[in-house]
Symmetry: C2
Subunit: 230 residues, 2 copies
Amino acid sequence: MKAEPTLPELQAPSREEEQAEVIRRLEEDIIFGRLAPGLRLVEDTLMQRYGASRHFVRQALFQLERQGIVLREKNVGATVRFYSAEEVRQIYEVREMLTRQAALMIALPAPDSLIDELNELQRHYCIKADAQDMRGIHETNDAFHLALFSACGNPYLVRSLQDYMNLTLPMRAKNLADSEGLALSRRQHELMIELLKGRDSWALAQLCVDHMQYSKADYLVRISNDKKPQ
Amino acid sequence: MKAEPTLPELQAPSREEEQAEVIRRLEEDIIFGRLAPGLRLVEDTLMQRYGASRHFVRQALFQLERQGIVLREKNVGATVRFYSAEEVRQIYEVREMLTRQAALMIALPAPDSLIDELNELQRHYCIKADAQDMRGIHETNDAFHLALFSACGNPYLVRSLQDYMNLTLPMRAKNLADSEGLALSRRQHELMIELLKGRDSWALAQLCVDHMQYSKADYLVRISNDKKPQ
DNA sequence: ATCACCCCTATTATTGACAATAACCATGGC
DNA sequence: GCCATGGTTATTGTCAATAATAGGGGTGAT
């Protein structure tokens, strides 16, 4: 008899989930501003903070560098990445373009199955919003948009869209906490579902683009204020 | 006196370049078909083949997985990825969309500096083409398109475009060897430069999209033939 | 006083040994 | 004869010790 397999699903963190958890927590700490832009992310410190081995922390930093929210310099280390107003505008320009294209590709009127799915996701979103559960809000919100855009039929377009959603996470995060932005977002989601029942693709596309203006504008104001007082 | 620093630039592979070299060689072996789709990429084998440590091979596989030309399965290993006709069509749909948008954003007529730069790159391209230097052809070709699209002014759009250029590498590679495709490609490059001197953005955008049809069509025919005889 | 240089420390990069895992094969029970 | 079961091997995943590197502070020369 060997050392027994320790009962798989009881409480085993199972390595790969441990890795995912480190990534999630680090990502969360960055996008919610607990780790400010420019701050150095020293591997040893993060190892302590998350109780993970160097290997996992390293992988997480690579992954988040790829996602664009961490900057790594050879033999120097990682820092929380900061985006200038100019860069933000450029990033959103591409995101808006992809969004518009994807929206236009959704066949209208949408099938009931999609409507039902989105209503269900929207319900979850509202629950998390009411509970002020930041991570939950962010996850359900992204799930909603992902389900919506998946209806465009091109998984590669969806993947690119997702890349840009991840890239803009730091800009969108503040709004997930802001009750005004939250209420607006909620109404827009419901309007999207209504438009899916109709035939006006252009209206839908425009709404999807409008949907991201609030957080973009808010972020731009925020960073211009951060610069000035200094 | 310590063990001397071995004269930095004499013949030092300098680790980071060694890493890049492994990636390049592996990529090359895949896109030029020396490693067929579906083939298992065993780490130990690659370590031997490229004389690199496990770490570097690993990194290379991660990188190429991200690029989309390698498929990795947990605890199973990596294989050369294969794309179905349907996937190829979807990938090209997005690539064409991004290309068209980028082309339309280039301000016409283009400044002389850009024209000069492209002429120079085109000259290199022709040299490599005449020399039948596959890697050289591919590198100079991509450099040409990168310089062209960079003129759109949005580096993020260029980055996404580059992602799709990398993703379609296996489909484009065959054409880099094909003398007919090569000649067509050459003429189209020159036509692009001519259009940059004019004011017709739509003609330029259309030409850029047309430019990628030959290799796409060729690849689709190729894989449908591969399927049949079996 | 200033500049250049060197050592020292903080940090990341690399490596090879080792653990975990999954596929494979053979063997025995039914 | 066939399915289940256990062992074996091939392969990837993890780790912790070691090497390399860059930056900072102090020391000495000019």
